[in-house]
Symmetry: C2
């Protein structure tokens, strides 16, 4: 509950209609896409512009009120679950693409701008914004920056952090901070931009983002290859990479996922396959052609049972629409879906696949696995029902085993979904307590009352 005075003060800043406190509004913003307990905030605020945003932050600081910023709420690690009695700030009204500079190849956007909208706007000018998280059709760029969102093109093009040139944001006290530059090179001051990317709203609240753009690839070619087993498919991934081919996208899908996706999307996927690789090559036409031939040869040599090359844009779109539907398709099968993103060095994908099979058997759980095999970033997805308490206990153990397996293979807890609330307790296993203590000192110095998205990353 917030006091009437405070409620009134928020109304004075953002306007009456943009302070929501009705129970149905509060429930709407009590959860995100992670299977965690919802937490109801005290109010939901919708600032229109940077000035309103800054005033809201300063007021929250004065009143030691927790702030959780929310874009589209597609977060998979609980990063947008608010603090009890705190406020949620929606970025939906700050969604403008402020500038697309063709000569210097950058864009300036507000945090609420939708990822896919920027991508299509710059594509119309022959430019390319590569990061493409699965939720890009609705996800916001502010959320992408704060989670360091990945996607299907990480292998060749990197992730969100590789495209953030500069930021401006409000710190916990409501001071306006500017960092980075519109220049390709910038070595002035600390790399606060780098620190902010992936900080999950715990160090500051964005009002503007400068994003790097690159020329749009001249040509693209997509290939689907079917294998008898996920082991065979994952060995093929290692072979493609070791031949120094760098596909734009190199995705894997196991049998459970293939069947779910085909039932859901009717894309014509071979449901008898043990696993699929979905590959896209892009760039200079001659190279795309040559690399596509090499990829086909490697797949054949590795025993692919079927190889299809998309002949036109429609076929190409069908492949990727099918892949993008994987999460939604799996979500149809069971009431609760736990989507992990433990990531390993790419040569360890076959080992990780083996570990997942063992974990699935040990805990008697259905795990559908798909994901970005080319960059070692699998999405083992546990299909379950949270109401089944006995099974849920096994799920929790299986999650721990997945984390252990990734770390023991030299990998990481999270490739792209962030630490959030979901992985906070496991952070120590990967980075150690000295690194956590270092992070806590940093957090406390920048946000002394811990009002910025408390509990995320380093816990309370």
């Amino acid at each position: 509950m917030i006091s009437k005075t405070l409620y009134k003060a928020f109304q004075d800043i953002v306007g009456k209609a943009k302070v929501l406190t009705e129970p149905e509004d509060l429930v709407t913003y009590s959860y995100d896409a992670a299977p965690l307990d919802p937490v109801t905030p005290a109010a939901v605020l919708m600032p229109e512009n940077s000035k309103e945003l800054g005033n809201v932050v300063a007021l929250c600081h004065e009143n030691k009120l927790a702030i959780t910023v929310r874009g589209a709420g597609t977060n998979l690690s609980g990063g947008t679950i608010p603090k009890k009695d705190g406020v949620v700030i929606l970025t939906g009204h700050m969604n403008r693409i402020l500038e697309i500079n063709e000569a210097d190849m950058y864009a300036v956007v507000q945090p609420g701008a939708v990822t896919a909208r920027l991508a299509s706007r710059v594509e119309a000018k022959g430019l390319f914004y590569p990061p493409d998280p699965g939720s890009q059709a609705v996800s916001t760029l502010g959320g992408n920056v704060m989670e360091n969102a990945g996607g299907l093109r990480g292998l060749k093009y990197g992730v969100t952090k590789d495209y953030v040139m500069g930021l401006s944001f409000y710190d916990a006290m409501g001071n306006h901070i500017k960092t980075g530059s519109k220049t390709v090179k910038c070595a002035t001051g600390y790399n606060i931009t780098g620190l902010m990317v992936g900080s999950e709203g715990t160090l500051g609240i964005l009002d503007e983002i400068i994003l790097k753009l690159i020329p749009f690839p001249e040509d693209r070619k997509s290939i689907i290859a079917a294998f008898i087993s996920i082991e065979a498919a994952s060995e093929t991934v290692a072979r493609i990479i070791s031949d120094r081919i760098v596909p734009a996208t190199l995705e894997i899908m196991d049998q459970i996922t293939i069947k779910a996706v085909e039932d859901f999307s009717h894309a014509g996927l071979p449901t008898d396959a043990g696993a699929l690789l979905l590959i896209e090559l892009d760039g200079y036409p001659g190279q795309v052609k040559e690399d596509a031939q090499k990829v086909v040869q490697i797949c054949e040599k590795q025993g692919a049972t079927k190889i299809q090359t998309a002949e036109n844009d429609e076929q190409r779109e069908k492949i990727w629409a099918a892949r993008r539907s994987a999460l939604s398709a799996l979500a149809q099968l069971k009431p609760t879906l736990v989507l992990e993103d433990a990531t390993v060095p790419r040569s360890k994908i076959p080992d990780m696949v083996q570990s997942l099979a063992k974990i699935s058997a040990t805990y008697d759980l259905t795990i559908g696995t798909f994901g970005h095999a080319g960059d070692g970033n699998l999405h083992p997805t546990i299909l379950t029902d949270r109401r089944n308490k006995a099974e849920w206990q096994r799920v929790e153990k299986a999650i721990e085993r997945i984390f252990d397996a990734a770390i023991s293979l030299g990998g990481t807890l999270s490739g792209e979904h962030g630490t959030g609330l979901a992985k906070s307790a496991f952070l120590k296993n990967e980075i150690g307590s000295a690194s956590i203590d270092f992070s806590r000192r940093l957090k406390t110095a920048l946000d002394p009352y811990h009002i910025l998205n408390p509990g995320k990353i380093i816990g309370d």
Copy 2:
């Protein structure tokens, strides 16, 4: 001066021979490549391994002793000038390349490893470590990381920060911190790796670096084009970029630099040219050929007076050796050389060139300009004599005008040389006092006694 007890304690950690306190040793490490006043440290320490390094840091923390880490001392902003009565730690004995992983395309190195040695070691395996600061033949990777070093390939390949996957380091108290991962994607915990890159030794002391590698380009082609003026050359740069060609390297040299370089290197540069563009294209052979043709056509259309394409590796090497000698060549002309690296969005290069001409005329100074035109990163180089007090006052004013010009064109004080001591006082003009205050809070939380390279970036 350090006490005898402390001197003895350092000897106990690193061994007698590795604590230097003779005046000639101290003088040797009192300056770097920036034209600033030398400062003599109290001792110079040469730890052999991570454990010794950690013990040295902890001892310095206990005694509130300032630490400046030094690789090759090629710093151009005073970042390796020690604090009076502080210690210098040399990384020369921690110079191993610990791992080159071909399958997962990363390398693990110690901070004292020399940049060019890593580059040639990975090239032998068909891999590529692109960042190539001008001093790469002697510069160390630890120094490159701490300065976020740039180089000639920034336009296509980015800078050091784009290749740092993970780090381990000692914080100010001597705690060992691990950050980042050997995986291409990592969204676990804060992006401390990003914060450390470019932090100039003020937040921690590296003991290990994980660097990303990529496949070595299949083909390369180098072109030299001569123009009647630097204006004509810089307009051509903008034209190449706007045609969506992305050269690996796109360098510019004005007449002063051409003459100095030719006198120094006898590479056969056309000394009658008003300016030169030095261009390298790399990648898939078909694309390199096609892009080279396009570049030649653009240069012709823009009035190039002479265009040469390197026919073989020897000719290619000659071009780039000449370019790399620019700094040394200019240094022959006058006793003091002030090398700036103010950077602008690349389309503003013609405006920046005009501003430099005006500044040179206003303050009656000789300014040789060369640099990375493709990424907006020029190196205006003032040729002067610090002993000439009247001229030096004009130099100081000219430097301020160069900074003003870059900032007013939407650029930055430093593209790649760092803030160090040299630009610390000007930082406010670019990022504002709120951002500096934010940085100070961060610094003080992580290094409460300000023992880590004090005075750099944010001042004392």
